[in-house]
């Protein structure tokens, strides 16, 4: 059986270091399998968060060879094994232990976003009617598994640590899912511009690149939201046009 070397970051909030582990690898294995094998045979105290092993729970986010990935979805056949494979915790959030980080900031951010506020029901039985073309766009955003790889790769959070000023791609997608929902009546544009800091996104598309659900975060979520902010705050010709339409409709 082939062997491979894994350099795994070991430590906690106070600091840590990379430690080398050599383990056997077989066809079909993913990075998480190798981590589990190392846990089983060499490092039972190695902390690693995981759950579904199917790329649906978003728990096993880590950085494999410097790129944010789900360990359960990263096949060893896709990773060059001739050199040691580095595995680190995600960088945008504080480390708890080894590969486990404290992502609770994300849940606090989500609570601050204005929730779904639907229009009154369309039918007497309290239900609504929607057309498929109205909901297609939003369905893409609802594929998000909250692995926070997009938050990790976003340089505004990762390098500039602007967690108090910018909600990150995950929550811009969440806002997009609400804002573009055909039933929703809430207006979130002012918050997007101010407290949620959409202007900090400089469209590097790194979030789109790492999304395991292949959500077009930048093109379908963030840029359309940026355009809605432009409508509201930076387009005098648009204001004039809307005013004129209102006047003519009277």
């Amino acid at each position: 059986m082939k062997t491979a070397v894994f350099k795994i970051w070991r430590g906690d909030a106070k600091g840590g270091e990379f430690r080398d582990y050599t383990t056997e690898v077989a066809e079909g294995m993913v990075v998480l399998d190798a981590v589990h094998e190392i846990q089983r045979t060499q490092a039972p105290d190695l902390a690693c968060r995981w759950n579904c092993k199917a790329g649906k729970c978003g728990s096993c986010s880590a950085e494999v060879n410097g790129m944010p990935k789900l360990m359960c979805m990263t096949r060893l056949s896709e990773v060059p094994l001739e050199k040691p494979v580095t595995i680190e915790p995600i960088k945008a959030f504080p480390v708890i232990k080894d590969l486990v980080t404290d992502v609770s900031w994300n849940f606090r951010v989500k609570k601050k976003i204005k929730p779904f506020n639907p229009r009154p029901p369309d039918a007497p039985d309290g239900t609504w009617r929607m057309q498929q073309e109205d909901i297609d766009r939003v369905q893409e955003f609802r594929k998000c598994i909250e692995c926070f790889l997009c938050q990790d790769v976003c340089h505004v959070l990762r390098d500039h640590q602007m967690h108090d000023k910018f909600i990150g791609p995950r929550f811009l997608i969440h806002v997009a899912a609400l804002e573009m929902h055909p039933l929703d009546t809430e207006d979130r544009i002012e918050e997007l511009r101010s407290s949620q800091g959409i202007g900090y996104c400089n469209i590097t598309k790194c979030c789109t690149k790492v999304c395991p659900e292949s959500i077009q975060i930048t093109d379908n979520g963030i840029i359309p939201l940026k355009e809605r902010v432009v409508d509201e705050f930076y387009d005098p010709l648009g204001w004039f046009w809307k005013g004129l339409k209102r006047l003519l409709n009277r």
Binding site: G66, V95, Y200, D219
Partner: protein, 266 residues
Amino acid sequence: MNGATALPRRSFGETMRADVWWFQPLLVFLGLSTFIVYSTWAAFQGKNYFVGDYISPFYSPEIFGDSPHSWFGPKPAWWPSWLLFSPALLVLWAPAGFRLTCYYYRGAYYKAFWADPPACTVGEPRTSYWGERSFPLIMQNVHRYFLYLALFFIWVLAYDVWEALWFVDPTTSKTSFGVGLGAIVLAINVILLGGYTFGCHSLRHLAGGFLDQFSRSPTCYRAYACVTCFNRRHMLWAWLSLFWVGFADLYVRLCAMGIWTDWRIL
């Protein structure tokens, strides 16, 4: 972050990535730099920008100028003598502004020219960061105004192609339909610029993206779907059109200089 320990910043260029992460930003840097140098040089030339019925896309629409394509005749008398004149300088700012504020190019040149970041998960050279929230980058929000101009330019360049299909016989002065290689070069230019412009993110929004209920406006939905189709390959259109507009200028220029001869196909 509440109660969280800030992680140590990575220094400029520091990363655990094992791939050649610098290759793509380098290509973007070289590609855009080459285009900027060439287009600036070509814009300042002020000559060899037309030949027969062809006009370089860098000089069209020619508002004032010496060619038969000029809309309002030669350089106006009121033009200050100390100010350099070239017909391209009167128009080139509009497509340049369109590309400068384009969502695709923004992401690309922030990385390649400003290392903000140099590539995904690669350490940055600066600690401060303002994003597009304050001056000067807040001006990127003007993109849709450049889009309006770019749409106008597409029509002008398409008209130039139409004009390029009519040849005047120098002996009889009779006009006849014909197709030269130059007309095909200019036509491809319009197609590529059209693919790039009609896939613009701002156009996608204005065409229908602003709606929450597409079903209430089927026309907008169809327009949105059409723009989305171009938008999926926006980067590809951006690069192809950038290369070809430069090549179209070069083709006309070399023909005007007599280095190349236009090949009449029909």
